[in-house]
C-alpha cells in the first residue's frame, strides 16, 4: 500500500502515526509546501518572542521519519491530482502514485481587500515563514497595527509587545475574540491589554492605505480614522485550503471539504483531516485527532470520527484563558450561567448549562482542572446533584457521585 499525504502539519503527522499503528511497511510520502519539518503552528508566536528555539520547533524527533519509512518532500507543492490515475502531480513535474491519499492542506490566512496596499505591505500570522518575516521587521519602538483581535491576533500582539513594539489592535466586532469571550470577559481582557500599553480599537476595520515616504504605512479605517504604522499584521482567521479538490469528481466543497464519518471525501482511498475539513474547528487538538483516525482508516481500519467540541487555551502577557464549548452567551439567552469572579486577580470563571448539562466553560487566570469540565461536557453528565460545587476552587472527583469516576480511576 502506497500512502501519499499532502500537507505536513499536525493532521499529516498524526496520520503517519495512525497508519503505522496498523501498517508498519507501506511507504508514506509527505508533500510539504513549507520547507520545514512539521511544527505546531501555534508555536510561531513563542518562537517570535524567544520563548522557544529553532531546535525545539519540530513536533517530532528528527529520526521519526527514517524510523517509520516516511519520505518527506520539503518545499514541494502538489499542483494537481489526477484522480483516475491516482497520481499527485508535483511542481517539479514528477508524479506520485498513491493507493491511499490524505488531503491535509490546512487553511489559508484570510486577507480582506485592502485598497492601495500590496502583499509586501502586510504580514499574515499563520506559519513559520510569517513569523520569520515578522522577526526581520519587528524592531523595538516600531508601531504595529494588527487587524483582528482573535486568538492569532492576540498571540501576534503578545510577540510584538514583548519585542518592544507599540501595538494597536483593530477589531470589527464590538469586543475582542467575540466567538469565545462574552462582554464581561472581553472587557476584563481589554482593560488588561490597555494597562499593558496596547491600544484596542473596536467596531472598526482597515479598508486600505498607502505607503508613505520613509516607508511608513498610512491606514484608512472604516470610521474615517487614520492610523500610522511601521508594520501591519493581518490576523482575521483562516479558510480551508481546498484548491486541489476543486475539480475532484464526487467531492463536495462547502467552506471546507465535506467528509463522511470515516473522513473519506467521497472518492475511494481519499481522506481529509484537519483545518481543510468542513466544520472541523481550526484548532490543533481537533486536527491531531482527525489525522490519527484518518491514518488508521487509510491503513484499513473502519473507525468513525466522533469529534469533540472546540476547545482552546490561549495565554498572552501573563493572562491565561481556557475555553470549551459555548462560552460567549449573555444572561437572558436561555442558558443557565454560573460565574465566579475575583476582580483583583482578574479571575473569571463561567459555566454554561442547559437542562443541567454543562455545554461550555470559560476560565480566565484560574485554570486548574479545566479538563474535568471538558469531560463533564463531552460525556453530557447530569450536574444537578453537584451543581453548587462546580465552581468551588478545589472542585474534583470527590464532589461527584463515585459511580461516575471510581471505576475509571482503577482501570
Amino acid at each position: 500500500m502506497r500512502y501519499v499525504i499532502i500537507g505536513n502539519s499536525v493532521a499529516a503527522i498524526n496520520a503517519c502515526q495512525g497508519i503505522r499503528e496498523l501498517d508498519k511497511e507501506g511507504p508514506i510520502t509527505i508533500v510539504s509546501a513549507e520547507k520545514y519539518y512539521a511544527y505546531g503552528r501555534p508555536l510561531i508566536s513563542y518562537w517570535l518572542e524567544g520563548k522557544t528555539g529553532e531546535d525545539k520547533m519540530p513536533y517530532l524527533p528528527p529520526d521519526f521519519y527514517t524510523r517509520h519509512n516516511i519520505n518527506v518532500l520539503l518545499g514541494r507543492k502538489a499542483l494537481r491530482i489526477h484522480w483516475e490515475r491516482q497520481e499527485v502531480e508535483l511542481d517539479d513535474g514528477s508524479r506520485l502514485p498513491y493507493d491511499r491519499l490524505l488531503i491535509a492542506t490546512g487553511g489559508k490566512a484570510i486577507v480582506p481587500p485592502l485598497e492601495g496596499l500590496q502583499e509586501e505591505d502586510y504580514v499574515t500570522f499563520l506559519n513559520y515563514d510569517d513569523a520569520r518575516r515578522l522577526a526581520e521587521l519587528a524592531h523595538p519602538g516600531k508601531e504595529a497595527v494588527i487587524l483582528g483581535a482573535g486568538p492569532s491576533g492576540l498571540k501576534a500582539m503578545e510577540s510584538l509587545v514583548s519585542r518592544g513594539l507599540k501595538v494597536t489592535m483593530v477589531e470589527l466586532a464590538p469586543r475582542i475574540w467575540s466567538p469565545v469571550l462574552d462582554t464581561e470577559a472581553a472587557t476584563l481582557v481589554t482593560s488588561f491589554l490597555r494597562e499593558k500599553g496596547v491600544r484596542v480599537i473596536l467596531e472598526d476595520t482597515i479598508l486600505g492605505g498607502s505607503r508613505k515616504e520613509g516607508g511608513k504605512l498610512k491606514l484608512n479605517l472604516k470610521s474615517g480614522k487614520e492610523l500610522e504604522a511601521g508594520l501591519l499584521v493581518v490576523a482575521i482567521g483562516v479558510r480551508p485550503n481546498v484548491e486541489l479538490l476543486e475539480q475532484a469528481p464526487g467531492v463536495t466543497l462547502k467552506r471546507g471539504v465535506v467528509v463522511d464519518e470515516y473522513l473519506n471525501v467521497g472518492l475511494p482511498g481519499v481522506f481529509a483531516a484537519g483545518d481543510v475539513v468542513d466544520g472541523n474547528p481550526p484548532l490543533l487538538p481537533h486536527a491531531a485527532a482527525q489525522g490519527r483516525l484518518a491514518g488508521r482508516n487509510m491503513a484499513g481500519a473502519r473507525e468513525k470520527y466522533k469529534g469533540s467540541l472546540p476547545y482552546n487555551a490561549l495565554g498572552f502577557l501573563g493572562l491565561h484563558i481556557i475555553s470549551m464549548g459555548i462560552t460567549n452567551c449573555e444572561p437572558g439567552q436561555g442558558y443557565e450561567i454560573l460565574v465566579q469572579k475575583e476582580e483583583n486577580e482578574r479571575v473569571y470563571r463561567k459555566l454554561v448549562l442547559q437542562n443541567n448539562r454543562l455545554i461550555g466553560a470559560l476560565f480566565i487566570n484560574r485554570l486548574e482542572r479545566a479538563g474535568l469540565y471538558r469531560w463533564l461536557i463531552e460525556e453530557k453528565i447530569d450536574v444537578l446533584p453537584f451543581k453548587d460545587k462546580l465552581l468551588q476552587d478545589d472542585f474534583g472527583f470527590l464532589d461527584l457521585p463515585p459511580a461516575l469516576w471510581e471505576a475509571r480511576l482503577k482501570e
Binding site: R374, G396, L409
Partner: protein, 146 residues
C-alpha cells in the same frame, strides 16, 4: 497504579515525595527549601473530609494531552506507555490542562519557566516515589502504566 481511598489518610506525603523525586537533589528538605519546588507535585490529593483521594495521570491509551500538545513536548513512550512531558520543549500554553479528562495535568512553573506538571511514573526510578512513600499503602503500583 491506582489509589485505595479507604486507606488514604490525607497526609499528602505522596505529593511531598513526588516533588522530591522530580528535584535535582531528590531530597525532600533541599527540594522544598533550596530548589524552590514547593507546589510542583504532579499528583494531587483531593480533600472532602473525612474523604481524601489521590488523583494521578492514567497514562491513557489515546492521551488527549498528547493529542492537544502544540509543541510536541507531551509524548507517550511507545515502549513503556508512559505519558510524560519534555519540560524543555513545553511552552506553557496549557492546552493539556484543558485536554485531560482527569484534570491530572497541572499548570506549573519550574526553573523560571512555565511547564505542564504531570505524573511520569518516576520513569527513572524502580517504583514511583508516591507509592514507595505512602505510609498506609493507599497507593498501589502493579507495573504497567495504568
Amino acid at each position: 497504579m491506582y489509589a485505595r481511598r479507604e486507606y488514604c489518610i490525607n497526609c499528602h506525603l505522596c505529593e511531598v515525595y513526588c516533588v522530591a523525586a522530580h528535584s535535582k537533589s531528590r531530597d525532600v528538605w533541599k527540594a522544598f527549601k533550596r530548589e524552590g519546588l514547593r507546589g510542583t507535585h504532579r499528583l494531587r490529593v483531593e480533600e472532602r473530609r473525612p474523604e481524601s483521594l489521590p488523583v494521578h495521570c492514567r497514562h491513557c491509551d489515546e492521551p488527549q494531552c498528547v493529542q492537544g500538545c502544540i509543541s510536541g513536548a507531551m509524548v507517550k513512550d511507545p515502549e513503556t506507555g508512559i505519558v510524560y512531558c519534555h519540560e524543555d520543549k513545553c511552552v506553557g500554553c496549557w492546552t493539556c490542562v484543558a485536554s485531560c479528562p482527569y484534570g491530572a495535568v497541572r499548570p506549573g512553573y519550574r526553573n523560571g519557566r512555565p511547564v505542564a506538571l504531570k505524573c511520569d511514573l518516576c520513569r527513572d526510578l524502580l517504583e514511583p516515589a508516591c507509592v514507595a512513600h505512602c505510609p498506609n499503602r493507599a497507593l498501589v503500583y502493579e507495573g504497567g502504566t495504568t
